[in-house]
Subunit: 135 residues, 2 copies
DNA sequence: CATACTGTAATAAAATATGTTACAAATGTA
DNA sequence: TACATTTGTAACATATTTTATTACAGTATG
């Protein structure tokens, strides 16, 4: 399922990478993205669970990169944000008495799996540092 | 933007390919997918606009493939359903005073364009006939 | 001990996707 | 001709998902 999670997460990480010595507050990050700070904190919670960032509570607290940005790839970010590439499914359970209906989702799954593989292969070649250097 | 359009469309086309000599009704197709016939007709309208199918109104009417299924690729279906691969954008306009905010969408666009290219290259290798033969 | 943060839950609002109803127009057939 | 069946399409309704807001307990700093 698609959403802005990947985009938000990569934006956060790019900012953190630009200020590697500071703890940035969610308020500050949200300001750069024009987004609600709570949403930023939610994505940061996810990054923390994956040990990509560390954060400090309390006054002057905030978040900071905890890994080497040249070693973190966009593929990992993609996976951490639970994203997958796909072109959807007919939402309803297709008719199991129809030979097409019975196997359609299975065949779409296989197709989407191949697509994910291709995309992953490509995202794996790009590090956070690479991405960040474009700015 | 993602939705089930691609999945619905490919299901319709697979069915039409299985019965190349019949005009299938939207009611029948919808039955195989367990979906509302109006939604099927909407996707068919799109297929008609691209001259992939032809349909006949009135009694005993329905829809029928109008192209050679060995020549129609999944890439074309992908493009006809207006789908693109992407990992989203932070929905709000990012802050233009921030060097990251100012360029983030542009850089994401470039990344997604590459991803689309990879996926298209792969989908181009698969014809409707190939897909249909899996059933 | 006041202040400025994080963390998180609960709720609300907005956007998007899906489903339904309705009906005019077309076409085959009794 | 009259009837039944089907497409085409618009208008509306519902459901689902995303995004935003509010609220507040807990934690560190000075």
């Amino acid at each position: 399922m698609l959403s802005g999670k990947f985009a938000i997460t990569i934006h956060i990480l790019t900012l953190l990478n630009k200020f590697p010595n500071d703890y940035l507050s969610s308020e500050y990050i949200a300001g750069s993205m024009n987004l609600n700070p709570v949403l930023v904190r939610k994505e940061i919670a996810n990054l923390k669970a994956h040990h990509i960032v560390e954060s400090k509570e309390g006054k002057n607290g905030g978040t900071k990169l905890a890994v080497d940005s040249s070693k973190l790839t966009l593929k990992e970010i993609f996976e951490m944000t639970f994203e997958t590439i796909g072109l959807g499914y007919a939402k309803n359970q297709p008719n199991p008495d129809c030979p097409v209906g019975k196997k359609i989702n299975q065949n779409l799954d296989a197709l989407y799996a191949e697509m994910n593989q291709k995309v992953s292969t490509q995202l794996e070649k790009i590090s956070l540092e690479d991405f960040s250097n474009q700015f």
